[in-house]
Each structure stands twice: as structure tokens, then as C-alpha cells.
Amino acid sequence: MAIHLSRRNFLKTASIAAASVPLSKVVAKAETGVAKAPLVPPGSFKDTDTVVGGVCEMCFWRCQLVGKVRDGRLVKIEGNPKSIDNGASICARGNAGVKLLYDPDRLKYPMKNVGKRGAPKWQRITWDEALDTCATKLKNVIDEHGPESLAIFPHGASASYPFHFFEHTVGTPNVSEASFFQCRGIRDMAYMATIEQPPGENVDMPNTKVIFLLGGHFGENVHVSHLKRYLKGLENGAKLVVVDPRFSASAAKADIWVPIRPGTDTAMLLAIMNYLIQNDKYAADFVDEYGEGFEEFAEGIKEWTLEKAAAECDIPVAQIKEVADLLAANMPNVAIHPGRHVSWYGNDFQRQRALACLTGVLGAFGVKGAFVPPKGPKGLKKVSWPHGDHDPDLLSDYADNSHDFSPPGTPTDLIRDAAITGKPYPIKGCVIWGQNPIQTIPNQEKTIKMLEQMDFVMCTDVMPTDITMYADILLPECSYLERYDYIKTGTQWNFADEHQQYIAPRMPLVDPEFERKDGIWITNELAKRMGYGEFIPTKDQVEMVNTRLAGVGLSIDKIRAEDGIHIQPGKDPYGISEDMTVIFYNEDLEDAGYPPIPTYIPVERAPQGYMRLLYGRSPVHTFNRTQNNAWLMAAMDSTPVWLNDKVASKLGFKEGDTVSLENQDGVKSRTTATVKVTPGIREDAVYIYHGFGSINPELTIGHNKGIDDTSLITKLAVDPETGCHGMRNNFVKLVKVS
């Protein structure tokens, strides 16, 4: 820079005043944002208020919160002391919601991509321009190819309203929710096919005698009231059985840790059941009364001796027997946990069916410590988009395997394959709402191919993520701390306590900033512009919640006056309904060409030189959703690679070595991580946290931190009954970097 005039000299000479365009004229064109206000003496103190009605969404568990708010700024989040669920407790992530709220990398304004998909260049635009563009482009796709040509990838409470608009009213069946197709859909459908209800995580752990976990790693997997139930059970003396190839946080507390060969769980479950039946150690009366097709089932699993399973599962016969005997000795007061994220090996429906059947064999329904669904409040009204008269053309009707037991929506790979091949029909418009399909759906290359061929991609989110890089229009949504949407209901966490029910609608703790909008507003505006204005079911988020609450004689104002949670007397959840059935042998499955009794389907084992890639949760993260959170990343910002100590010494790896991973298809991780050498994992597997290593450089903290396990899951496994993905059938080797 040249030698400049000093500011004082410049102002003195004031030559600018004589310039042809006076600054004053230019400045006068726009109004200043700073205006005269009543004088507030310096040092005057602003009170911190407690704002009630928060419902956490740092994970799906939805603990009830209060916010400490000073002068419009959220300074702290706490558990709502009135809560009979999480109580005053929240987890690290719940606490760190403040950092999500005020993350400078958060989406702030609607933007259009003036660069390329995958390599975006953003331009802030007005909401009008954004909505007009989305409406026109989506309408064009529908007009040209029909409503089915829209693919919807939603996630989270705020995504239901928009995706129901597209599914019911616009008429596309091509909706793929990660929480179904890459998570719990398999569990829900398997239990539906066995006990005719999705199980939730409804086991009465505080009052049980045995907790049986298959892969559940509580402690690393943190959901406050769930953890309270589990810990109360242990405190009350419950025995803990943990089946996991890894010495997880739960395994560390277990009475029996079963380090099973990955993918073989069903074999073990069948052997346990067979042993119990053969030795008359099962709940015969219960089975008589509620079982259906038990004989065929018992006959069909006969081949599963303890010895056969032991060989398959690579565990001692004695250990399977020990587990079976422990369960038998304590039945029916045993908690066979249904799990939650169960999309593992592509044979998962069968394993989940086996778990439900095991619960039946032990008679562990409706009694203390068993499978006991809570009796929560009833009567909330529904507000939903009406169904149009379009008869949707289903991709499953064209598929070799129609996945007859698919959870609601369309199996992801049917959508993705149709998009890539254009067959049986083209998929040309994509709406992504709160989901990050790059990190939820295996085989990223295919996902990117699907996106590249779209005519239009619209994304709504709170933060930039991997997927937002592929948007044409990117819309900023209010976070869970700034909106109304979900109404959380439930009961007191421990059934041994006084029976109570609660209703806690999510209310904002602070106002939204920038131009962030709630999902109902965005959807309604879009619907109007697409010509569906007359079908709009509710005018705004407040009306929506009030309408729903009116069904139980409540309102937002009433509940706010009750400190954010309405509590009412509850009902005894124990007991078995008369129409309870445990379907051991399912004819519908048989008719559809699937095994009618739980059946073990072996999966490929690790090829020479490779180990199976297992993934799980970090206690302080919710997968990639917390990847840019300053506090949580300060606590854990990497994905240590768990490696068996014997393997490590054989291959020459030491604790702390920096490695990259390379999978069976030669795909290398983009980033590196350090090795954690431990006897606490089998020799045929490695383990990392899921949800790290984001490719989006807009995430100042999260970009490229740790290894993105999904990038290494290239080989696809699809569960035949449900069409859900199995994501633990890929194998990696470690490559030393330093």
C-alpha cells in the first residue's frame, strides 16, 4: 500500500466533501439498522430468565429442556426439572445445543448454487426467489415425468410435514427415511411380523432380572432416560449379557460378554431357543396361550444345536449354554432388548424376528422386567396432508425382490437405481430435508451419480452437511431450539414409580435469527406456489400444535403455564392384552417367498488380509449431526481405529500410529485416524465411530476430522424382506501413514 494520508489529515482537508457524488446522498438511500432507543445506564443488569418448553433434538430421544435466556440470548440449556422422563439431566450433546444454535457456520439465508453440484458456490437469495425456483423446478419435473419422479430423503421431526405433503398430496411414493432404511425399520417390521407391533426400546430394564443386549453399547450410546432405566436395572441387581464382537462400554459392565463372530447372531439365538425348547426350559404356558405356529418353529430350528452355533459364532458351547440357562432361570422377568440401529449385515430381519421369538419363548411380555410398552397419553389430534387421487406407480412392483416387508416409503436402492438407470421410470427431482444421504446411505459413488442426473435438487437443513453441497437451492431451517413441531409424550421412566403420563410439545426457547424459517412455513409457501394451496392442513406451526393439543383439551399457553410439561395420572403398563399373539411361524412371510421361521443366513467372512469394518456411536456425538459442534469436537474429534492387540503386533502397528483404511474394493479413506490397540475387539474386525470425516469444507471444525466409515461401505447388502441396507459387510485393511 502506498503512503497514505492520515485519517486526521484526511478528515481535516475533507476533500471528499467536494467530490462529485456526495457520500451523504449515497448513504441516505438505505436505512441504518441502528436506531435511537431509550437510554439504558451502563452496568444495568439484565435478568436471566428460565424459558420452558424445550424439547431436545440433538438426538431423537427428545429430552425435555428449559433454557436460561438473557436478553434474547440462550446462555445455557438444562433438563426441565418437571420432567418425569429425563428429569433435570441432559447429556453432553443436549448441553452443547447452544453451540449448534450459535454456530457461525450454520445456514442463515436461502442460497442458490451458482457453482456445480458437489462443488458449490453460493449466492444468498430472497425467500421469494428461492421458493419460486423450487416450486417451478419441482413442478416441471412432475409435469414432465409424474409425481413419482420426485425422490424425498427426510429426517427428523420437522421433516414429517413436508414429506407428507410430497407423499400424500403430490403423490410420490419414493420416500427414503434413513431412520427406517438405514436404521430401525428392520426391527420394527420384524416385530410387526412377530408380535404385530413395533417394539420401540420398550423393555422394563429397571425391574428386570436379566438384560440381554445384542450390539447395544449403552454408555457409548447415550439416551438419558433409556440409560437411567439400564443403570437402575444394574443397580437393582440385574444380570447383564452383552453379545458384541467388541468389548463395548456395556460389555465392560457385563456378567457375560459374548464376543461373537460378526454376522452370526441369528445362529446363536436359534441355538438358545432350540436348547430351551429341547430341555423344557421355555415358557410353555405362555407359548400355548399366545403362540402361533410354535410346533413348526420348534421343528424348524432343531438343527441348531449349541455345538453347531458355537462353531458358526466362534464362541464356546458353554457360553451359549450359560446365557440360555441364565435366561431360563429368570424368565419371564428378562429384558430381551430389541435394539435400535440394526441395519448390519443384510440378514437382519431374520435376527430381529429371532429376538422377538426369543422374547416369546421366554414368555417375557407384559410382566415385570420384560417387554412392556408404556401406556402413554392418547388423544392428540392428527394434522396431516390429505391424500390426492393419484395412484402411485410403485418401484417395488417392478423389482425382482419387492421387499414385501419394507418399512413405509420405498427401499433406498430401488429409488437410487431407478434414478441412475432411468428404469422403470426416471427420477429427476430430489428433496432432501434434514437427512445427509452421503453419510447415511452406503456407496457414496452411487448416491452422487443419482444426484448428478437430477434436474433439480432442493435441500433444507440447519447446518451445511455433505449433502448440502449437492443442492441447487439450499434453505435454512430453524433448529429445534427455535421452533414448534413435535409433541413428545410418554410416562415416568421407571414403571416401579407412581404411574404418570406427560405431554410436552416442543416450544422455542429463543427466536430464530437471520432468515431461518420453520418447516411448516416453508412447506406451505412451497405448496401454494406449486398449486396445492387449497390442501394446506394448517396455517402455521402454532396452529398445528394447538390443533393437535386440542384433542386432549390442552393448548400451548396452558402447557407453558404448567412449566412446559403437562403431567396427568398414568396407567399400569403391565399385563398382556387378550389379542396378543407371538407369530413364530409367519404364513405371510412364507407366501411372499421369505423364510416363515427365523432363519440364519450366513454372510461373507473377511478375506485374507482384511478385517470387517464395524462402526458405532461416540457418547458425545450424534453421528455427523454434531460434527461441527465446538464443545463436542473438543471432547472427541476423531475416530480411533480399534485394532486387536495380537493382530497389531503381527502386522506391526502400535498404539497411536496414524493410518488410513482401504476396503476390499480398493477404496481408500480420504482421511486418517490413529490406532487404538486393544484386546477388546475380535481379530477379524476393526471398529470406528460412525459419522465423521465430513467432505464439506464449510464446516470449519468438522471438515475431514476422523474417518468417514460410510465412504468405505461400497459393497451393498440389502435385507431381502425389508429392502433396508446392511452396512457391516465391508472389509478393510490398515495402511500406515506415520
Binding site: M1, A2, H4, L5, S6, R7, F10, L11, K12, A14, S15, I16, A17, A19, S20, V21, L23, K25, V26, V27, K29, A30, E31, T32, G33, V34, K36, A37, L39, V40, P42, R70, D71, R73, L74, K99, L101, Y102, P104, R106, L107, K108, M111, G115, A119, P120, K121, W122, Q123, R124, P464, E513, F514, E515, A630, P697, E698, L699, T700, I701
Partner: protein
């Protein structure tokens, strides 16, 4: 005594001319830091911008601006993309958030303790940020506030604000912007802000 008395009114006039010019400059720079739209960011704005550079004798910067203006097909569009890249969201990750709290509060946060302090300072001077989608510690609002203070010739408060609440974060922002702000308009604007807010030696 006599001579001092006669000089006093003259000094005041001079000061207030200076102050009102400074107020205009702050106001002008505040606009440069605001998301550009056609209501204010037009040819006339850029003419005034160039005039300011000329009268400051910032020849190189003036030339850069002229060059850009002669090359760009659509200056508003250009600036909107550039603004979004620099101050809102960008890939590759090169944003420099224009908020004091992000630089002052240790853990990169919008609406931090500093935001609160700045808001309180505004209020203690009888001002408040209204009708804005941005937090009060956005550089645009800080400059608007400085414009308001200068317009009332409140030198002491202006100096105090610059010293305690503006410069400490601005110098960090400036350092980042030197690495990131490649576009002449924003690079030069930030230099201008530096020039007009720097304490005189």
C-alpha cells in the same frame, strides 16, 4: 484569554464538519459491509466509492476497483456471490464471519458474551439495532453505530467503543480477510475500515 475565546467556536465548527464527514464515511462503509442489493448498491455507490479512494490518494486500490468495474458484466451479482462466499457460507471453507463474538469469545460463537456487551454499549448510548436479520455485533451495525455517534460528535464514546469493543476483534478479522478477501471491493473496504477506525499514533 481573549484569543482563546474567539477561537473556540471556530474549533467546534471544524470539529463538527470533521465529525459529520466521519459519520458519513462510517455510514458508507457500513453499507459496503451490508449484503448488497439494488436499493443502495448501484453505479452511484461505486462512483462515490472511487471518489473516496481518489481523495484518499489510494491509487492502487482505485485502479483495482476500476479494473474490476470495467471487467464485470453484472457488478451486483458479482458482489452478492462474493459477499455470500466471504461472510455467509462458502465452499471451500473461506468464510470470515463478520461478527465480533466469533473472534472474541474463545469458541467461535455467534451471540456470545461479546454480542451482549456490544448491545449494552449501544443501549448505554441510547441506541439499539432494530429491523435487522443480523446480530448487533455484525460489522455493518457496529459501523452504523459509529456513524450515529460521530453524527452527534460523541468523540469520547466513539473512542471508547473503538478501543474496547471494535478494534480488538476487527484486527483478527482483518488478518483473516487479508488471506481470504480476494475481491477488490471487499479487500479494499476492509482496508478502509481499518484506516478509519485505527487509533492515530
Amino acid at each position: 484569554m481573549h484569543s482563546t475565546e474567539s477561537q473556540a467556536p471556530k474549533l467546534e465548527t471544524e470539529l463538527s464538519t470533521e465529525a459529520s464527514l466521519l459519520s458519513e464515511i462510517y455510514g458508507f462503509l457500513a453499507l459496503a459491509m451490508r449484503y448488497p442489493d439494488s436499493s443502495f448498491l448501484d453505479g452511484q455507490f461505486l462512483d462515490a466509492y472511487e471518489a473516496l479512494l481518489q481523495s484518499l490518494e489510494w491509487k492502487e486500490e482505485y485502479a483495482d476497483m476500476q479494473k474490476w468495474r470495467s471487467q464485470t458484466g453484472d457488478f451486483l451479482n458479482d458482489l452478492q456471490i462474493e459477499y455470500t462466499q466471504l461472510f455467509i457460507n462458502a465452499s471451500p471453507g473461506t468464510t470470515i464471519p463478520p461478527y465480533a463474538s466469533v473472534y472474541m469469545d474463545g469458541d467461535r460463537s455467534i451471540q456470545g458474551k461479546t454480542t451482549e456487551k456490544i448491545k449494552d454499549f449501544y443501549r448505554s448510548c441510547g441506541y439499539e439495532v432494530t429491523s435487522s436479520t443480523e446480530p448487533p455485533d455484525h460489522i455493518q451495525h457496529e459501523l452504523e453505530f459509529l456513524a450515529a455517534l460521530a453524527g452527534e460528535n460523541r468523540r469520547e464514546e466513539e473512542t471508547l467503543f473503538l478501543h474496547s469493543l471494535f478494534r480488538p476483534w476487527f484486527i483478527r478479522f482483518l488478518k483473516h480477510s487479508i488471506q481470504e478477501a480476494r475481491h477488490p471491493f471487499y479487500r479494499v473496504s476492509i482496508q478502509l475500515i481499518d484506516f478509519f477506525t485505527k487509533e492515530e499514533q
